[in-house]
Symmetry: C2
Subunit: 127 residues, 2 copies
DNA sequence: CTAGGTGCAAAGCGTTTGCTCGGGG
DNA sequence: CCCCGAGCAAACGCTTTGCACCTAG
């Protein structure tokens, strides 16, 4: 039986993800945690991000062709990434309709990774 | 001005993607092309896959947390990946509704990368 | 002739992992 | 006192890139 034991490093990683609402990458989280605990290592950050994501305490956003990002908001939702400034915006999407559509082909949906790429409001107004 | 010049290696890469309908990865394409031309290099395969995808002659499927796959079918469509056997299934999805939804937030959709992960018909029947 | 393409190998990037030591329970 | 977790660095998987040579036009 595998128990999960308390560690201040893990707490720090969790808190960092929950506090920074900009969908930080693992490297960014590493930098941020380092400001608090200058001895924490990359390996620890990655291990804890994986563990926390597995436990459902944080959300992993898989960005195609880029580093994964992490989100303290647990409620299932999707992301729109701006190709100019890299901003990540949350949005809701009804997973049900798609799931039913695929069920007719015999495919059982378990996880949806949808990332929309485009231009955000800010960048549109600048252009 | 940049012209695109003929090369037998590029033709081979294109043909390989168009012929193999299983959504091969770059590495698989490398292996397949090597059977025809044993001197072709990884670099050439990657360079040509990028070029062909840019020109819209093939489609790149970005698989979160895995190697990109390539598809000779140009018509926009999405993919369902089986977490057990890795099979990639095509499906259609109405991009319009989502695009309109995001437009209300001021976000301009340009590219949708949606990958559903789950279990395919085959694997479900085996389980 | 010359710009674009190739082969090769090294580097890049994000991430994982083996090892040994430290500390929670 | 046991074993999970941390720190460190090396390795990994996928992809890109610098360089010298080759070749289509």
């Amino acid at each position: 039986m595998k128990t999960t034991r308390f560690s201040k490093q893990r707490e720090l990683v969790l808190k960092t993800v929950q506090t920074h609402l900009v969908h930080p990458t693992a490297q960014e989280i590493y930098g941020l945690t380092r400001e608090v605990d200058p001895t924490i290592s990359m390996g620890t950050v990655y291990r804890n991000l994986n563990l926390l994501a597995e436990q459902g305490k944080i959300l992993r956003i898989k960005v195609p062709g880029g580093a994964d990002r992490y989100d303290g908001t647990i409620r299932p939702h999707n992301h729109a990434v701006c190709t100019r400034c890299g901003m990540v915006m949350d949005y809701d999407f009804n997973f049900e309709a798609l799931s039913e559509q695929l069920a007719t082909s015999g495919f059982k949906c378990e996880e949806l990774n949808m990332t929309v790429r485009g231009t955000c409001k800010e960048c549109l107004s600048k252009a």
